[in-house]
């Protein structure tokens, strides 16, 4: 009876812990939806901001965030997946690759504002990209790389070694084995890592603060060298920098950002489960 009670108590505590995790998340989401829903309109999504951002829409911020995410993906996916392939498939286990791995793990722990400063120094000033989508995308890409590399490497390593041996025994080169057998098997895991990284990039404020984000720029960017507004930074601005801001617009902006990120997440899950179902071992 005693043991039975202990077990009941244990389950109760664990359930409570789960609730403590879930409830705040639900509250946050619910608050944002309830308070933000009222300002969401066609105009809010498709118009330029007016009257010191107190009226009109947030189109440039939406477009800016989409472009930045796209730019980040273009830069980070080839480099990140390429790096992961090198580390998992080609690199020998020596002090150099161990140092590289350690560096990647540590990079993931660097505060994002430091990436922002680094981007300012390297891309904006030294390479003369100016405050631009290009500089911002590359800064976000660098921040995203550790996530992509470490998850992609993990995904590649989880493909059994024997597949590589079989491919080699059938006359395949190392690269052919990777290209035709290992990569397709690792794809769901790689996609997960990529999306996780991009989600983080899409929601970040600090790295774009000095490298791309415009405080108030009611027009759409025309080239990669233009600055742009972006949702996270816009949210920061209208929440802290503009006096007399209607509360609804803040919650509306947060809702749009949340919806964007969550929908990317859903897309990722769908792609992942599609590939996972095609996997046959």
């Amino acid at each position: 009876m005693n043991r039975y009670l202990t077990q009941r108590l244990g389950f109760a505590l664990l359930t409570l812990a789960t609730l403590i995790v879930v409830v705040p998340i639900l509250l946050v989401v619910a608050t944002i939806i309830i308070r933000g829903m009222s300002v969401i309109s066609w105009e809010f999504l498709t118009a330029m901001p007016r009257n010191g951002m107190k009226e009109g829409g947030i189109l440039p911020a939406i477009v800016g965030t989409l472009l930045l995410t796209l730019g980040t993906a273009l830069a980070a996916i080839p480099i990140g997946v390429g790096g992961a392939i090198y580390l998992a498939e080609y690199a020998r286990d020596n002090w150099l690759t161990r140092a590289i791995r350690l560096a990647i793990i540590n990079l993931a722990g660097i505060p994002s504002v430091v990436y922002g400063l680094f981007g300012l120094g390297l891309f904006v000033l030294f390479l003369h990209f100016g405050t631009s989508i290009l500089a911002g995308s590359l800064t976000l890409a660098i921040m995203t790389l550790p996530i992509i590399i470490s998850t992609a490497e993990e995904a590649l390593r989880s493909v059994p070694m024997e597949f590589r041996t079989v491919s080699a025994s059938l006359g395949g080169t190392r690269w052919q084995g990777i290209r035709y057998i290992v990569l397709p098997q690792a794809l769901p895991g790689i996609i997960t890592g990529v999306i996780l990284g991009l989600l983080r990039a899409a929601g970040e404020t600090a790295p774009i603060l000095f490298t791309v984000a415009a405080f108030y720029l009611p027009r759409l960017p025309r080239s990669p060298f233009d600055p742009t507004m972006a949702l996270p930074y816009h949210l920061y601005v209208i929440s802290t920098q503009v006096p007399g801001m209607p509360l609804g617009i803040q919650y509306g902006t947060a809702l749009v950002l949340l919806a964007l990120v969550l929908s990317m997440n859903v897309v990722a899950t769908v792609i992942r489960s599609y590939y996972r179902r095609r996997r046959e071992w």
Partner: protein, 256 residues
Amino acid sequence: MSKERNEPKIRIENVSYSYGGKPALRNVTLNIPANAITVLFGPAGGGKTTLLRLINRLNDLIDGTEMSGRILLDGRDIYAPGVNVSELRRRVGMVFALPLPLPGTIRQNIEYGPRLAGIRDRARLEEIVERSLKQAALWDEVKDRLDSPASALSGGQQQRLCIARSLALEPEVLLLDEPTSGLDPISTGKVEESLYELKQHYTIVIVPHSVQQAARVADYAAFFLMGELIEHGPGSRIFTAPRDQRTEDYITGRFG
């Protein structure tokens, strides 16, 4: 014995091999005749699998190993600089202890090697699929479902698929590493039967999963103990009148 002296398909000359300083083969010299089944047998850890994997250079994939001696295929050193390893592995096919179909369909499994070798012609691939599945005695069981997943096959069928996959490349030599270790007796019988067929055209080197199997299939046999080749010769003699006491002890089940 006389056959061994004329033109062996594979000559293994004074081969020693170690993994990170741990010796796996000590000064092994062995000729492997063409169009016959040569059995490498002995207790675990004797270096049989290592020797197999040296013959098609699969151990190239492992770091920290050391090899001395030569292995000649048709008189050519396969470890000489400039040897095309992919080409070598197409000539020397391998079947592993655990059948591991590649992801995809039965057909894709068979076509994988030929496609990498540059064969794209549909009719030709079609022909290869049929021929290799027939050679591996699997055709009748799968001819109506070539495009279903290979993973849905039974263990015995998967192993015959792996044999067919190797045969698709029309290798000259087929290396088999305990190909029936995971199979039931009926499947084992089928695999062994296909080996008898195959030796008409191929040179077969097999690490059997038991002494009984060794005795059943061997034209020639070589007994390995702790990295050393103890004795070798025609199977009929090795299994009836071994010259070395250790071979006899192993065959009669005194250890192993």
